[in-house]
């Protein structure tokens, strides 16, 4: 099987290994931030249920848990920030063709006008998609956790 040449998705000569590393780190931070935000929102909502005196058991469904959409709503914020990071990265990749030299002059002489777009957008778009996929997977786990932990009597109607 032919090995994928990642350098084709970035400007020629671009140190994509380093920048992919930064993006991967930012993606990991994004995932962790989502987990922290969800844990915090979930704990806060869960703590308001009707507990017994020593807070070991939920005793009634008098107080309902906040809907999952409300609890998890704030977890999208890191994804939005990461998406903005990807947009900024794409802008910087486009600027790369006019920084220090005008290599855009070469790109404009290529027979395909897709080449420039691919070299500016492919990397950031791939990471943005990874972030979206990670967020969806995390949301699935959050939902499963929500369903498993919140007693049926406290679930919103």
């Amino acid at each position: 099987m032919k090995r994928l040449d990642i350098s084709r998705f970035y400007p020629p000569g671009y140190d994509y290994g380093r920048w992919n590393g930064y993006a991967a780190m930012a993606l990991a931070v994004c995932g962790m931030a989502q987990i922290i935000l969800y844990s915090s929102a979930f704990s806060s909502a869960y703590g308001q249920l009707d507990w017994n005196w020593d807070h070991t058991r939920i005793v009634s469904g008098r107080i309902k848990m906040a809907p999952f959409a409300d609890v998890a709503g704030g977890c999208w914020a890191p994804l939005v920030i990461f998406a903005l990071y990807c947009v900024l990265w794409a802008v910087l990749l486009r600027l790369y063709f006019s920084q220090y030299s005008n290599s855009i002059y070469i790109m404009r002489r290529l027979s395909s006008n897709r080449e420039l777009a691919v070299r500016c957008l492919a990397g950031p778009a791939a990471f943005a998609l990874c972030a979206l996929a990670l967020s969806l997977i995390l949301m699935l786990f959050f939902r499963l956790y929500y369903n498993a932990v919140v007693p049926d009597m406290c679930k919103p109607l």
Partner: protein, 241 residues
């Protein structure tokens, strides 16, 4: 043939090119001469589609599009290489994207200028970067090679030898449009001189026509621009008064 008709260019309110009409035949080596700000670079960029313009530019009767833009190469003192890519990397990129890339010519010119192949171009001196720019333009395999002040910052030996090499390697179908201020150095090299002054073509003559009139390229340029030989003396007089 490259045909430019009624090409006009404005930057905001300022018009920089006026009704440029120019035809370049295959195989011509044309010198484009003019004072700083005359519009030489702007004209080249318009032809290459790097700037918007009014008028028409046609290559063998066809407008310039992505289909035929690869028939042009451009060596510019603004530099158009990829700064972090090595010379070898450039050769691979050009070979990938320009089916006409001339590897043998690339290697030969790299050796001629003694340029390192594995270092990022960013690490080259300005003179070497200019040389590399020319190497790339000549190796692309383009039919029309535009050179805009290609040897700024290069020593006289490199320049003179290069023009000799260039004459030796160019094929009969390759057309060169060369913009430079080093008129005497290229006078034996160019077959035609196009003079541009404040955005207008003010002179266009072949080397044969100049020979038959018995005037040099420098004389032709001075005559066309109404160069006043007493300019320096008058300036010194007025300063020293």
């Amino acid at each position: 043939m490259l045909e430019i008709n009624k090409l006009n260019k404005r930057f905001g309110a300022k018009q920089v090119l006026y009704d440029i009409d120019l035809k370049l035949q295959p195989g011509e080596i044309v010198g484009l001469f003019g004072e700083n700000g005359a519009g030489k670079t702007t004209l080249m960029k318009c032809i290459l589609g790097l700037l918007r313009y009014d008028g028409t530019v046609r290559l063998d009767g066809e407008p310039i599009t992505r289909k035929n833009i690869g028939r042009f190469a451009f060596a510019t003192s603004e530099h158009s290489f990829f700064p972090d890519l090595s010379a070898k990397g450039h050769a691979e990129f050009f070979a990938d994207h320009f089916g006409t890339f001339r590897q043998k010519r690339f290697d030969g010119l790299m050796d001629f200028f003694a340029l390192p192949k594995s270092k990022a171009i960013r690490s080259f001196s300005t003179g070497q970067q200019n040389q590399f720019e020319v190497v790339l333009a000549l190796s692309q395999g383009a039919d029309y090679i535009f050179m805009d002040e290609p040897f700024a910052g290069n020593d006289v030996f490199n320049r003179e030898d290069f023009y000799k090499v260039l004459v030796g390697i160019l094929e009969p179908t390759e057309t060169v449009l060369l913009s430079t201020h080093l008129i005497e150095e290229v006078s034996d090299f160019v077959g035609r001189a196009v003079l541009i002054h404040r955005g207008r073509i003010v002179g266009d003559s072949t080397a044969d026509e100049l020979d038959s009139k018995g005037i040099t390229l420098m004389d032709y340029i001075k005559e066309t621009y109404n160069y006043r030989a007493d300019r320096v003396a008058r300036a010194l007089d007025s300063i020293n008064e």
